[in-house]
Amino acid sequence: MNNDGIFDIESRLLLEALQQVYGYDFRDYAESSLRRRLLNWLSGSGFANLSEAQGRLLRDRNLLDQFVCGITVNVSEMFRDPLFFRAVREQVVPHLKTYSFVKIWHAGCASGEEVYSMAILLREEGLQGRYRIYATDVNEEVLSKAREGIYPLKEMQRFIRNYQKSGGQHDFADYYTARYDHAMLMPELKKEIVFAAHNLAVDADFGEMNMVVCRNVMIYFKAALKERVLELFDRALLPGGFLCLGQKESLEKRGVAGNYDELARGTRIYVKRYLQS
């Protein structure tokens, strides 16, 4: 058997073991991307192969957290896909405003850029004090970055451009203070956000949400896991609630598709029907 074949066997064994020891379940992640991430992690880890790493990973929680961070894709941006945020501002917020209080779940929030973007947008639209965001991720390392809300200053230019393209009218510089080469987001933005660890592959849902945002998370999952996660969201969402997916993710062909209408074609914002089919 060649090295590739052995690597595939080792990675299957490792994922199985991690599931049994920690309940972290990566067995249903799309293989080619996971394989890249595993190879990447391994090459910087000092271990010669995954079998060698396995013994330590099963016993050393810190190493495990670092591993989880290494094999998941955590890149994010503020106001990533500006047209999505524009659609939220123009087409979703008017509905949200009709509620006295709005609950939003950002699943797979990574280091928080998307969550803070939403908070900025909601405040600009006058929803301050009338919403709560539950921001969850499987990955403790990115969650602690998210809680801090501090980003490299050099990223701000892109974030500002995104913000403006998304229809933002304010001076974005009001939302952060620059310190050396970092930008610290305004602490008030955190007030209405609850950050928590949550694993979409194994944990239960959060209830009674008006909106669920889960973008660029399920693209790494195989079909069966996507179905599980969408059912989770479906249980969490109130009728009339909004399900927001990434640019290249769609409900088409999914089990829950019949319960939703897309807000406008291509927005990847789906509205949950009142009458379930």
């Binding site: 590739d4 799309a30 293989e31 080619s32 991307s33 394989r35 890249r36 991430r37 894709v73 890149v75 660029n216 693209i219 790494y220 079909a223 996507k226 640019q247 290249k248 993710e249 769609s250």
Partner: protein
């Protein structure tokens, strides 16, 4: 594939993967424009493109070419006679079960999509069944991935850098890989038809 017998090479190919950058739109018009609608393999393409670009290129090529051209969707199963372009700002990868997947991992070689990412996944998934092609482009994307394709027994094709609008991608690939074919764009459609196991019905492109 039963008609693979007229393939001069003994391998039975399952997929064509192609990386191209600067000069790519022209090159793709010429290449894809010369392939028939029933070309027997799926073709996956990474064309470097601005992250903000829409799916305009896929639509344009689809209009111009007999073969079907579309932007790749997540979890789509690749089919013969169809060209899949990586969407702007996502890496395109190929799974063992012929399903396409997307990823927003950081850029590789300053590129997202990156040809190396596509090629490496194709090599791991389909080994000897892969035809890898590097065309015109600035930068260094594609060479490393082409090397992986060769290591796994796939077939490698590089555009002759002499005629490439931007020679650095083909040159870099050539420095890493003893390619099976170094070829002009003009002859590439006919080569692909041969490799895919059928002769061009219209004869050689003129």
């Amino acid at each position: 594939m039963s008609n693979a017998t007229c393939n001069p090479d003994k391998r039975v190919f399952r997929v064509v993967v192609l990386g191209v950058s600067t000069g790519g739109v022209q090159a793709l018009k010429r290449l894809l424009g010369a392939l028939p609608a029933d070309f027997p393999l799926p073709i996956l393409i990474v064309q470097h493109i601005s992250p903000e670009a829409g799916n305009g290129l896929a639509r344009l090529l689809d209009e111009l070419c007999a073969i079907r051209v579309k932007e790749a969707d997540e979890e789509e199963t690749m089919e013969p006679g169809c060209v899949y372009l990586a969407p702007p700002n996502y890496h395109l990868l190929l799974e063992k079960d012929a399903v396409l997947s997307l990823s927003s991992e950081p850029p590789v070689n300053f590129a997202r999509p990156s040809a190396d990412v596509l090629f490496e996944s194709a090599a791991a998934a389909f080994g000897r069944g892969v035809i890898g092609i590097v065309l015109t482009g600035a930068g260094y994307d594609g060479g490393r991935g082409l090397q992986r394709i060769q290591e796994e027994g796939g077939l490698t094709v590089i555009q002759d850098p002499v005629e490439a609008e931007a020679p650095s991608m083909p040159e870099h690939a050539l420095s890493l890989v003893a390619a099976d074919h170094v070829i002009s764009l003009e002859l590439l459609p006919a080569l692909l038809q041969l490799l895919a196991g059928r002769h061009s019905e219209q004869g050689e492109p003129s």
